[in-house]
């Protein structure tokens, strides 16, 4: 088990991080190149002011009409995404590993808080799952890939939660946790988890078109 642990947290983690960072840069750069090649006109309409105006409205809960129309979803999605991003970055155990490996460290969350945030992510994933299978408009556009990416995202948190509490077979859970984290990182640029990379751009473009050309609000 230790050699497997060393593999997933060593070479495989390197691969995952390379895929994540390299893949993200590659995806964004190639998308921008595609814009330059085929839809160059888009650059003419981009505006920092209106891009930010739009992004800011959409990253604040209840700042847009649709967020207000969907209060439960809004609370869940913001909590989910915030915890999803913050927990792994500010988790003490992760920072300890960074410190050991590269002697870099930063502020960390108390474990109890991180534990709650993990639960939030897991519950959020459950909410999305339930929403997917029960809401007709979501179910209609759901494909297998949607369950797969939800699973990819939920897995590191479920295993992390189990590992932290040392439930079930600890070494196995721990190994699975690291593996799940590797998979998620690597998957971000190459699945629809890439909305993490592209949504700022699509949002900024729509914001620019609405603000600069259409003189209207896009929220």
């Amino acid at each position: 088990m230790h050699s497997f642990y060393n593999f997933v947290s060593g070479p495989l983690a390197w691969v995952a991080f390379i895929l994540f960072f390299g893949g993200s840069i590659y995806r964004i750069v190639s998308m921008l190149k595609l814009v330059a090649e085929k839809e160059r006109f888009i650059f003419s309409y981009m505006s920092w002011r209106y891009s930010l105006r739009s992004i800011i409205h959409w990253i604040i809960p209840f700042a847009t009409v649709n967020w207000r129309r969907q209060p439960v979803l809004t609370v869940v999605t913001f909590a989910f995404h915030l915890c999803l991003l913050a927990t792994p970055i500010f988790l003490l155990s992760h920072v300890v590993l960074w410190d050991e490996a590269f002697s870099i460290s930063w502020w960390t969350l108390p474990d109890a808080v991180a534990d709650i945030m993990t639960i939030i992510v897991i519950l959020g994933a459950v909410y999305f799952l339930v929403r997917r299978v029960t809401q007709p408009e979501v179910k209609f556009v759901t494909s297998v890939s949607d369950f797969v990416i939800l699973a990819i995202v939920a897995a590191p948190f479920i295993t992390g939660f189990l590992a932290y509490h040392q439930w079930l077979s600890y070494p196995l859970v721990m190994c699975l946790h690291v593996l799940a984290g590797d998979i998620m990182l690597a998957a971000i640029p190459f699945t629809r988890l890439s909305h993490m990379l592209f949504s700022p751009f699509t949002r900024a473009y729509m914001g620019s078109e609405f603000g600069k050309v259409r003189h209207a609000r896009d929220w």
Partner: protein, 444 residues
Amino acid sequence: MAEPSKKEENKVVDEGIDVGISRLTEEKIQSVINSVIDSETGARLKAYVETCIHCGLCSEACHYYLSHDNDPHYSPVGKVKQTIWEMVRKKGRVSPEFIRRAAIIAHTECNLCKRCAQYCPFGIDIAYLISVVRRIIHKLGVTPLYLQDTAHSHSVTMNQMWVKGDEWPDTLQWQEEEAQAEIPNLRIPLEKEGADVMYSVIAPEPKFQAQLIYQAAVIMHVAGVNWTMPASVGWDNSDMAMFSGDNELMGRLKRTHFETAARLKVKKIVMGECGHAFRSVYDMGNRWLGWSMPPFTIVHAIEFYHDLIKEGRIKIAKKYKPPITLHDPCNVVRGGGLHEKARYVAHAICEKVIEMHPNREHNYCCCAGGGVINTGPPFKMTRIKGNRVKAEQLFGAKTKGAEVLVAPCHNCHSGLHDIVHHYEIGLDIKFFGDIIYEVMEKPE
């Protein structure tokens, strides 16, 4: 593929679609879809398809969805799923029957109103995706008959209604003569090079609603505007080619329009109360031609009236009495930000303005725009049934006392007329121009 929608049971017959489908082969479909996707789309399509997280949050933006009791087939993303996603996923290997359904969805179940763009957290432009579908439908020759016929009219006459070269100036002179009975020295100056303003309209005005030109002439005359109208092609600012996916023709129409303005040496193009034409000259046609913004300032009638009233160039003798409610047309409000100016005009000319809800950028579409009304009688009920929510919205305003519905857009006007009639709402529908003409100070 998606399970068939409930409404497929009663298939409409459209000669444009049906004959077009009968000529298709799977190979042709594949090659057309792939050629459009490969050579005419780029990062937008890719990013929109890959970024969409299938959350369904756009659903409630769509009046079709709301009007069909939240049937997911009508949600914006649902329509995308039934059309372009499938085409992309299967690399064009879809059946003629799929194309038939795609043509009906893209042309009659989406008004390209872009309300969904305001509801998608990622700002995915679903109307653009549906436009790509329409482009494919055009390239496959499956465009609905009435819309295609309108495009043919554009191609021959550069106007929407088969108005011939002589009929246009003749109609203007006829309206000028009519108006001279009211104001003897009123003119509709034709081909007046160096005027400040070129006034352009859509072809239904000379064809069926010539009184609108009359009213505009009176407003221009009273306000002392130095204006002209072209006697050549280029007078019509409408553009159904934009909606039929015939981009080349759209470019040709807009070039004709802009170059007519350039030839007449005007400073601005003022346009009548039309929404899609505004989208065409302000946002779409100019881009296809290489102009990032139109080469001439485009002033929609709402803004024009706003400026005339604000500057005191027309004065209101007596405000319009019946309470009105104001419909915000998508193309000039969501597409041009004219909602506050429309309200300024409404309050300046009417005693009572009752807001309908939702309003401004969030107003519900009339369900006629985006070329949908131009698909003609076969799809009339699609429009009406697809916009029950509009009837409910209008009924709300009616309940609060509104008697007149002001819709500063031709398509909205016609679409709302059908809604008001079918659902027996009992509202009179007017243009701003109708009311301004009625309430303004005119020479004795």
